[in-house]
Symmetry: C3
């Protein structure tokens, strides 16, 4: 049980009503039982509070908690931000016993920090350095020479490649992969795809055998502090230098970050984003779900790309973009609006202009 007065201090809220109330957990207003703290971030949740049985709630600033039938209230200006601290306090965390599980394989040359926990069937390679308080889940592999900072949490099945360096408080969700080889191949003669990319046109060709020779990844991956990596996401190692991710950047599930990329600080990279090789991304960049970024592209600080945007060329800092190819969001919204009218326009023009009325099947 958590007393409300302690929670109020922890989350920076103003407590009104019964300071001695204690809660067992948190719940949505309509689902809340008498021991739950109801989470009601704005007045839309008032009806839910009436249906639930909460005695206390986290409420928007200015809420009349007595009128809502509550005995106590935590009032904050930005309830969603307060939820961060509250949820941290209530999260039981994964059940990982301290120490090294007897079924783990830890190389004798690995340096394991104080209070680290290593789960069953984890494999820790030679020369690995694990910071104090790091928690390594079951089935995790950490390759030779990798360094992982203090307080890291690697969930089950995470793979950390050899010589990868990761800062403090890193969190990786299950089955994420850091340090797979980059996808880098080369043909003895310039390949057809090199020609297509150079000309953005089809100059014919093809039919010639071209075997892909592998370029091995000699670089590793370097990740700052406070980074999170989603389930089943991959960050490839660099070819020569390291692929790099800056402090505070958060990466969602099923994301691909290619070899040699340099990602800045405090970025947010949503699900299924694919970043090709050698991309440079500034600080505080937000890439919505399924954004694709072509190789060697530069994206400036504070760029925001809406979901599904395809970034094929450099983007100056601060721009808000959408579409394929990416344009300013206002431009894309205008294009979308025009597209909905386009069939009618075509029909209208066809009546007056025989020239454009025939279907062009050249593509």
């Amino acid at each position: 049980m958590h007393r409300l007065d302690a929670i109020a201090v922890a989350i920076g809220a103003r407590l009104e009503g019964r300071v001695d109330l204690a809660i067992a957990g948190a719940a949505e207003p309509a689902d809340a039982g008498p021991d739950d703290l109801a989470l009601a971030a704005d007045p839309r949740y008032a009806a839910g509070l009436a249906r639930g049985r909460a005695r206390a709630a986290l409420l928007w600033e200015g809420a009349d908690w007595r009128a809502l039938g509550l005995e106590a209230a935590l009032l904050v200006a930005r309830p969603r931000y307060a939820l961060a601290a509250l949820s941290q306090r209530l999260d039981p965390g994964p059940a990982l016993a301290p120490g090294i599980h007897p079924a783990a394989v830890v190389d004798p040359t690995a340096a394991i920090g104080a209070d680290a926990a290593i789960g069953p069937f984890a494999v820790i390679g030679a020369g690995v350095v694990l910071g104090p308080g790091a928690r390594i889940g079951p089935h995790v592999t950490v390759g030779e020479g990798a360094r992982i900072g203090a307080g890291a949490l690697l969930h089950a099945g995470v793979r950390i490649g050899a010589r990868v360096v990761i800062g403090a408080r890193f969190i990786a969700q299950p089955n994420a992969v850091v340090g797979g080889d980059g996808f880098s191949f080369v043909t003895p003669e310039p390949s057809r795809v090199e020609e297509v990319r150079a000309t953005l046109a089809d100059r014919g060709g093809g039919g010639v055998a071209q075997h892909w020779a592998r370029i091995h990844s000699l670089g590793a991956v370097r990740i700052g502090d406070d980074v999170e990596l989603g389930a089943l996401s991959a960050i490839d190692r660099g070819t020569i230098r390291d692929t790099a991710v800056g402090d505070g950047t958060k990466i969602d599930n099923l994301v691909q970050i290619g070899h040699n990329c340099v990602i800045g600080r405090d970025c947010m990279v949503c699900g299924h984003v694919g970043i090709s090789g050698s991309v440079t991304i500034g600080d505080r960049v937000v890439l919505g779900g399924k954004v694709g970024v072509g190789d060697h592209v530069f994206i400036g600080d504070d760029v925001v790309a809406g979901g599904g945007t395809r970034i094929r060329t450099n983007v100056p800092k601060g721009r808000v973009i959408l579409g394929d190819p990416a344009v300013k969001i206002e431009t894309q919204l205008a294009i979308n609006k025009a597209l909905r009218r386009l069939p009618r326009l075509m029909a209208s023009l066809a009546r007056g202009n025989k020239d454009v009325s025939k279907d062009d099947d050249s593509g």
Copy 2:
């Protein structure tokens, strides 16, 4: 060997010819040997039957099996449906010895159902409940307090998070993840992306440090009966309430289902679909490959979205949609047709209208 008369009963087919024939397996018509049942769902396969050596075949209703050179035939109105029962009968299933492998780590407080099988290096947490006949492959982790129903089959490397609840006959392909943390972060002050989303425009800003505070996922995941989850797919836990997937829903590979989503019954979610947080989806919804769904969207029952559709706003029930942004399929097909003609229209107008002839580089 399987006798044809037994198979006919199992799959609901009419058997003609030699009832005593037995088959060892199934094959495509041209590849079939004398012990194979050839699968020839429609008359296009007649030529293949002539090339192969099958003595028996599963045929379309009305086929003249004697003329096709066969000794016996299983005739059904809908061969593809019959294939479901037939393939179930012929599938040897994974080789998982009954009982608990000595190299598994099973918490003594876990309740393991009768006839369950647990493979090598599986890790079963405290308080887990496994239903009767559940089969847990090698390297699977089941977190503390999770419950998995009767007859479930978890292939190698599947991760089930703590407190996840799953119904009967669940099948998860290798390395799938249920119950990773939701991707939910918040800044102390409203972030730039919140402003962009509110205005759908670029109001400037940026350049201000914004650290993402983590909102922990206190909810879990709740999955109904007869659900399947593809290889390398992820279903995130909810923030407060559980993420939910209804009975009979089938999910392909590399799919992402975000925190707090509620997915209905008998849906089909194809490969690389990405569903953001807090999405509500009705029953019998079909999402084609690479469909993306924005957060907090509502999708009604029986919606069908073609491959690559990007669903940014609510979709009423029964609609068939396509495109980015999603529109009715007929509308998108008309837009696609108009787009192919658009360059010619522009050129034509440019000759008559100097106003629109210049390239607009504003985007």
Copy 3:
């Protein structure tokens, strides 16, 4: 340390200057220390060489290495190709001790080739055949009856399903999955999605319960020689026949290849590509990042599809395509150009033509 004269032979370069110099590794020009070979593929890197401390470099043909302050140079016509051989020589490779780790579970009926290495917690099923020199990383599972060729390298957490057959020198990055079940379901009566696909239109319907019956995958996967598979990528088994991937094909991370697909030789399949079931792809095909391919599509030899292309219909050999739906790249670039002008055109026409000025919200 590697002597330059030996490297010159290995990578087919002309060595000038001090033949007796030795290097410890490779580095980008500006980062290079005195024991590094600087990699300077073209004159743009000259400034970097001046900043770094390299004494030797891999240079473009014709470079004046003395003027660049170097003591020795390896000169090649195509430095990027030389990098393949160079990086192979310098790559230390994964630390996998030869032999079978005592914590692996290897079925006694498995045939393990000479000099194979099997890491901790690997699980090798009954009847598996591993070629000579195969290296199986930690936590890998190889299902019963699978065959893997000589010199294969399976990184941590790779899953190989039962009866899968793979050629020589296969490389699979961490957590990749070969041989998950195909995503194949059928309803007793024709489903709504079958109707939509047949008509490409919305004929109503819906609201009728439709349960998906599973079609089991009786086929396996068959992979040629010299294939690579990226981290977290999946190749599903076939329904009846095997899914097939030809020699020399390279597959990036987070790729999905559906059941029954037949992929040719020397293809390149980039990140997040999704290939639906029963697709046939020729030789030397290049699919850029996030390309999607509809089911039963045929793609001819030497096709190149730009990133994000959505291939819904057959593509003749040699074509270079882009867009959704895929058209010739020149057509798509013309469409993109026209789209940027479209809003202005609409506004212009609206002033003169009231007919097309109203927003059409039918979609």
